[in-house]
């Protein structure tokens, strides 16, 4: 038996007591060394985690209480002025503005709509995917995983070209006569009401539609990959049993498939929502200047024109708290529905 090896309880029961004791002592020494080593490694891991995660976060929180010196940098302080500014404006109480709360509202709105859209479209796709042959499933999954390697900037650029007024779909619409047809049938006015058309042609930039579409496109592969395990585990005979009991396809989806994947569905939507809350590139490219988000504002304050790190930090903290609040809320909801069913 090696000295540094693990202690073996069987040896202690040996009838040859003296030898066993000696081995036991050696084992104890070995075990002690082993314990020290393990404690050391554990401490090291904790230090790395602390340094990589907690320290930057702590810094952001600390800076968010800092004070911006006009015309210069910022200094350490403990003031709530940045949070006040976010909630009610810099000149409160003389004057109240909700500029930054509005930005937070748009952050949440884009993220909610885009994540729900992604999950709602990925669900039927993934369900049908799991009913394909193994080969076809593998091909689709590899394709989707590959698309994840494309950077956000690349994807947004692609959509920028597709939706731009001078080279994308609007040109195709007017060249193919679709614009004229829509004008004739009255659909053009509907699009104008939705803010998707200029007086002459359809127009997707800037629009909420384009922002949400691109954002949900960005996270769509994640939605498929997150929903895939739950849907592929779904027993096909459950849907068949429902059919033999008189359930139409839509009833099967509503009463059997959806309830069976309710939790993964909520989890996926929540994860995508939190991910999209910090979305930056799509918003800067597609969103109306009046409908920019907190993430964009954070970047502008930290690295952009205004250079107000404490206020940027305060906005980040609020964004983080929002995400955390949604996660807790989602957890509560899922636990309650679990208990109720």
């Amino acid at each position: 038996m090696s000295v540094v090896g693990h202690p073996e309880p069987a040896m202690a029961e040996s009838p040859r007591k003296a030898r066993a004791d000696a081995v036991q002592a050696a084992d104890d020494r070995g075990a002690l060394g082993h314990r020290f080593l393990r404690a050391g490694v554990t401490t090291l891991i904790w230090c790395v985690v602390l340094f990589l995660c907690v320290v930057p976060l702590g810094l952001v929180v600390a800076i968010s209480f800092g004070h911006k010196v006009e015309g210069a940098g910022w200094e350490w302080a403990f003031t709530f002025e940045n949070y006040y500014r976010f909630l009610v404006g810099a000149n409160w109480p003389a004057e109240t503005t909700f500029l930054y709360l509005t930005q937070l509202y748009w952050s949440m709105r884009y993220a909610v709509v885009a994540s729900v859209l992604a999950v709602a479209t990925a669900l039927p796709f993934t369900y049908l995917l799991t009913r394909q042959s193994r080969r076809a499933q593998a091909r689709w999954l590899v394709f989707l995983l590959t698309s994840l390697s494309l950077s956000e900037v690349f994807i947004v650029m692609g959509w920028d070209i597709i939706l731009s007024n001078n080279s994308g779909l609007p040109v195709l619409f007017s060249a193919s006569g679709l614009t004229d047809w829509m004008k004739a049938t009255g659909w053009f006015d509907v699009l104008r009401d939705w803010g998707l058309a200029s007086p002459r042609n359809v127009k997707f930039k800037t629009s909420e539609f384009a922002t949400v579409l691109t954002m949900s496109y960005l996270v769509w592969p994640y939605a498929v990959i997150l929903l895939y395990p739950a849907l592929s585990r779904l027993d096909p005979s459950m849907a068949e049993a429902a059919r033999t009991m008189g359930a139409r396809p839509w009833t099967v989806a509503r009463t059997v498939i959806l309830p069976a994947v309710r939790l993964p569905l909520m989890g996926t939507a929540l994860l995508l929502f939190v991910f999209l809350l910090g979305g930056y590139v799509a918003v800067t490219v597609f969103a109306d200047p009046a409908k920019q988000t907190t993430a964009v504002s954070v970047f502008e304050h930290v690295r952009g024109s205004t250079l107000n790190a404490p206020f940027g930090a305060a906005q980040s903290v609020i964004l983080l708290v929002t995400a955390a609040a949604f996660l807790v809320l989602g957890q509560r909801l899922s636990r309650r529905s679990e208990g109720a069913s």
């Binding site: 005979s237 429902a242 008189g246 359930a247 139409r248 069976a260």
Partner: protein, 357 residues
């Protein structure tokens, strides 16, 4: 004319023919077992009856009405699946009431009906449980009650006993049969277990390679197997390959007689079968169809005893009840064995066997 009639049903999956030219009639109130080895097409046939698969050819008629194109949800034949397919997000009562709930029956009425059905399958008081809290046998009862809730015209079960252990299986076979007789519901059960089929069925349909080999009552199928395959699949049989010869069959140098002269042309290859329990190990009486054999193995099963013998006819197994058997039969002993003519069945020899011979 039965409740349900299948006519020249065929099902192809690409190159593979799963079901081939099946024509069957299912009489009102009878339990029919579709019996065959795995891959014989019996489950595919059942799924086509349920409307879960479309036949490639042929028609399915319910009380004279063509329902071949009718989707499963409009046929509403209750079906019990191999793994029961209970809905885990619903309680036992909600599972049983499912067909009623989605059909628009009022909540209270559906629940009351579900409770009556649970009572019928001896699960009263289990309505509020989750399906995950039930044992295998209880889950099966829930699946049966759930399929019966919509009062289907035809009740379908796909290998319903395969997820249960052996002891429970036998109990449930009897119970299911009693329930079916009480309700008088036309039932089709898919199984690969001939004991299960014999226990439950009014009629057995033996299938092989997508075709119906024989359909008939359990006793008829056991006594008069239509083909050599059925003889081998239902119960046990000794097979002897020979050649028809002027009304008798020559197996090697031994001439075997049947009750009536064999109708096969002399020289045509035939296969004889004989049930092990029909073989007599005694030298008394007329020495017809009698040969000598050496005992190679004795398998004592308690109520019966299998004697394995080497004979000029090939390897033969004879089943003896203890009071019939010779006292102290031993390995190596030479005995006389008689194959009674009325116990012999004759079939054309299958092509594959001829190629091998």
């Amino acid at each position: 004319m039965g409740v349900l009639a299948l006519s020249t049903i065929r099902k192809d999956y690409g190159e593979t023919r799963a079901v081939d030219d099946v024509t069957l009639d299912f009489p009102e109130g009878e339990l029919t077992a579709l019996l065959g080895p795995s891959g014989c097409g019996k489950t595919t046939l059942l799924r086509m009856i349920a409307g879960l698969e479309a036949p490639s050819r042929g028609t399915i008629a319910l009380r004279g009405r063509d329902i071949t194109q009718l989707p499963a949800h409009r046929r509403k034949f209750g079906m019990v699946f191999q793994n029961f397919a209970l809905f885990p997000h619903l309680s036992v009562r909600e599972n049983v009431a499912y067909a009623l709930t989605i059909g628009g029956t009022a909540r209270a009425e559906a629940a009351a009906r579900a409770d009556r059905l649970l009572d019928l399958v001896q699960l009263s008081g289990y309505g509020d449980r989750r399906t995950g809290q039930l044992s295998g046998g209880q889950r099966q009862r829930v699946a049966i009650a759930r399929a019966l809730a919509q009062e289907p015209e035809v009740f379908l079960l796909d290998e319903p006993m395969s997820a249960l252990d052996a002891k429970l299986r036998e109990e449930m076979q009897v119970e299911l049969r009693l329930l079916q007789q009480r309700l008088g519901i036309t039932t089709i059960v898919v199984t690969h277990d001939q004991r299960e089929a014999m226990t439950m069925a009014d009629r057995i349909v033996v299938m092989s390679a997508g075709r119906v080999e024989q359909a008939g009552s359990p006793q008829d199928i056991y006594r008069w197997p239509a083909t050599a395959f059925v003889a081998g699949f239902i119960g046990r049989a000794n097979f002897m390959d020979g050649v028809a010869d002027q009304g008798r069959v020559m197996v090697g140098d031994v001439a075997l007689s049947l009750p009536e002269p064999v109708k096969f042309l002399s020289g045509s290859p035939v296969r004889l079968t004989c049930r092990p329990e029909a073989i007599r190990l005694e030298a008394a009486g007329v020495p017809l169809n009698r040969v000598q054999g050496t005992v190679t193995f004795v398998r004592d099963l308690g109520p019966v005893r299998d004697i394995h013998l080497d004979t000029v006819l090939g390897k033969i197994v004879a089943e003896q009840t203890p009071d019939h058997s010779l006292p102290g039969i031993q390995v190596g002993q030479t005995v006389h064995l008689t194959l009674p003519p009325e116990a012999l069945r004759i079939y054309p020899r299958p092509r594959t066997a001829m190629a091998a011979a």
